[in-house]
């Protein structure tokens, strides 16, 4: 309670403090289960007092190759997701009530199924004698089965499937925020539909594109289950490498160094995506 001696500013400050206190449990939890382990990890990677683990992680050709490959796969997943998701989001943003309900159902359905189950389902679908290959053969489109499993294609298909909603939703949300009168105005002022899209709608949806790309990229880079199962050991992502260091070689310090490199790479690319889309918006 406020006593007569309290200044008005003190009372105002107390209200802000009360609000902050409500956020404290969540902040503490994040601090304990996230920030602290990350710091421990960092400490572990330099346990022996040298940067030898980092040297190995960033200079050794093998590990560099895996890191580069992971970035490449994440970038491909991101690009495919973007190309596939944008039209879906665009249609959703202009669909009627039933269209939106149907689209949302289709997009959210995968969330109710575990990633593991979905990935095993892809194993059934994409195998040499899987559903996809059988259909294509029956339709006379191919003669020999396509290699869809245990290679990059399989990994990409599986990852795009899992991550697509993460691209659709931010783009959909940003498209919804655009005043529909803007594209009407553009058309009324003489723009054909495609120019109205390129000059008005697309630039204004870039915040969503950027958020979706960052989300999908970051999730892809650390992806484990899907590439491990669908890649059949031929596609190695950094996360798999880290797991291998811990499980097989019990080399915790090196795994920690790899994790740190992954974290830094993720943050760097995240910042880069933000910068590119911001630049594009004001171009």
């Amino acid at each position: 309670m406020s006593s007569p001696g309290d200044s008005r500013r003190t009372i105002a400050r107390r209200r802000e403090t009360a609000l902050f206190l409500l956020a404290v449990p969540a902040l503490l939890l994040l601090g304990i289960i996230f920030a602290w382990p990350v710091l421990r990890l960092l400490a572990m990677s330099v346990e022996d007092g040298t940067l030898a683990n980092f040297e190995k992680a960033t200079l050794d050709e093998l590990y560099l190759y895996v890191l580069f490959d992971s970035v490449k796969i994440a970038a491909m997943v991101m690009a495919i997701c973007l190309v596939v998701a944008y039209p879906v989001a665009f249609w959703l943003s202009r669909a009627g009530r039933w269209g939106v309900a149907l689209g949302m159902f289709a997009l959210l359905l995968p969330f109710w199924t575990s990633v593991l189950v979905r990935t095993y389902a892809w194993l059934v679908l994409l195998g040499r004698n899987g559903v996809v290959n059988r259909w294509l053969r029956d339709a006379g489109l191919i003669e020999a089965p396509l290699p869809l499993l245990h290679n990059t294609s399989g990994v990409l298909i599986g990852m795009v499937h899992v991550l697509l909603p993460y691209m659709v939703f931010p783009i959909y949300a940003s498209l919804l925020r655009i005043d529909p009168d803007l594209s009407r105005a553009a058309e009324g002022l003489g723009a054909p539909a495609w120019r109205s899209f390129l000059r008005v709608t697309f630039p204004l949806s870039l915040p969503g594109v950027s958020a979706g790309c960052a989300l999908v990229f970051v999730l892809s880079l650390g992806f484990f289950i899907t590439p491990a199962l669908l890649g059949g050991g031929r596609v190695i992502m950094v996360s798999m490498l880290i797991e291998q260091q811990v499980r097989e070689f019990l080399d915790w310090p090196f795994a920690a160094a790899l994790s740190t490199v992954l974290l830094v790479a993720t943050l760097a690319i995240y910042a880069l995506i933000g910068r590119i889309t911001r630049g594009a918006r004001h171009a």
């Binding site: 005043d179 009168d181 009407r184 105005a185 058309e187 009324g188 002022l189 003489g190 204004l204 918006r281």
Partner: protein
């Protein structure tokens, strides 16, 4: 006629949004479509702009049938209700947009953008983003963007709604001056009757998907053709009575003379509040009655009185006031009420 709308019908399921609308706007004319929300005025505007395709009827622009033409082929400049400025483009880029879409040379674009910004008194604001401008300034940018390419027709969709009163009045006059100077054929949509009276050469009053009456503001105000127009445009007292032998008996006022040629039967008479006089002023009036003051509202330059007539029913009187005048009447007081018969208007379709 620069714009001709002929027999436009638009249905949405069972709802008839436009039930056969005919309208002509002459070159350089400022025509206002005035109607309550749901009257179909926005659907009509969208049909003219090309965002709606009518079920029946035709839209002609400068004699050319554009009923099925897409918006970009109509050369119509439109100012949207919320301006619809492109938020990621500067003021100059916004204004340049229609010229770019028409692939004008770069020097011409620069020259015409500067010219348009000068017309709306926004020189030097070209580099700003719309969100860095006030509501009134944004509105002017929208106007500049709509006229910069020399459109055949300017459409204004309730563009003053979001502005505060003072600014709204200033902009209304500014837009009208600009429209007259450039002789822009203009179709203006509003639900605000005062705004319609201030700005228009002619007003078309719409209700339930139909145009009730078209005419100059003064005509519509003094001689409304329908009960709806009489009621919607300005404040009104609508008195129902029976006509016999060129006079009508109205409850509370007795018999009042009617113009020649008025057939016998029920009539609706319009009496504007400013035609009424009360208390001492009423004595000189040929038609007189009596009533009790139910409510008085002080409005500065005038006062509004709601009066319960002795013969039953209520009327509204508006009395102009000079600063030195005492209050015209107190609530609860019984006063004489009078008017001159020439201020009565027989509403043809009461």
């Amino acid at each position: 006629m620069e714009l001709s709308v002929k027999g436009i019908v638009r249905r949405f399921g069972q709802v008839v949004a436009l039930g056969g609308v005919d309208l002509d706007v002459a070159e350089g004319e400022f025509l206002t479509i005035l109607g309550p929300s749901g009257s179909g005025k926005t659907t009509l505007l969208k049909t003219v702009a090309g965002f709606e395709i009518p079920d029946e009827g035709r839209v002609l622009l400068g004699g050319e049938d554009v009923t099925l033409a897409p918006p970009r082929r109509r050369d119509v400049g439109m100012v949207f209700q919320n301006y619809a400025l492109f938020p990621h483009m500067s003021v100059a880029q916004n204004v340049a947009f229609p010229l770019e879409m028409r692939r004008r040379p770069r020097e011409e674009i620069a020259r015409r953008v500067a010219e348009a910004l000068r017309l709306v008194e926004l020189e030097g604001y070209g580099e700003r983003l719309p969100r860095q401008l006030s509501g009134g300034q944004q509105q002017r940018v929208a106007l500049a963007r709509a006229i910069v390419f020399g459109p055949r027709l300017l459409l204004l969709d309730e563009p003053f709604g979001a502005l505060d009163r003072k600014l709204r009045e200033a902009l209304q006059l500014e837009v009208r001056r600009l429209q007259r100077r450039l002789r822009l054929t203009t179709l203006f949509i509003t639900h605000d009757q005062e705004e319609a009276l201030i700005m228009s050469d002619r007003i078309a009053v719409m209700d339930k998907g139909r145009i009730e009456q078209v005419g100059p503001p003064g005509d519509l105000y003094a001689r409304p053709a329908t009960r709806f127009v009489a009621d919607f445009l300005g404040e009104s007292n609508l008195l129902d009575g029976a006509a016999r032998n060129r006079s009508a008996s109205i409850p509370g006022f007795g018999a009042v003379p009617l113009p020649a040629g008025q057939p016998d039967g029920p009539v609706t008479l319009l009496l504007r509040p400013e035609a009424l006089r009360v208390a001492a002023d009423a004595a000189a009036m040929p038609c007189r009655g009596q009533g009790r003051v139910v409510e008085t509202v002080f409005l500065g330059q005038s006062a509004k009185l709601r009066l319960a007539l002795d013969g039953g029913g209520e009327v509204l009187a508006r009395l102009s006031l000079r600063p030195s005048d005492p209050p015209p009447a107190r609530e609860g007081e019984t006063v004489a009420i009078g008017f001159a018969p020439e201020d009565l208007h027989v509403v043809p379709r009461g």
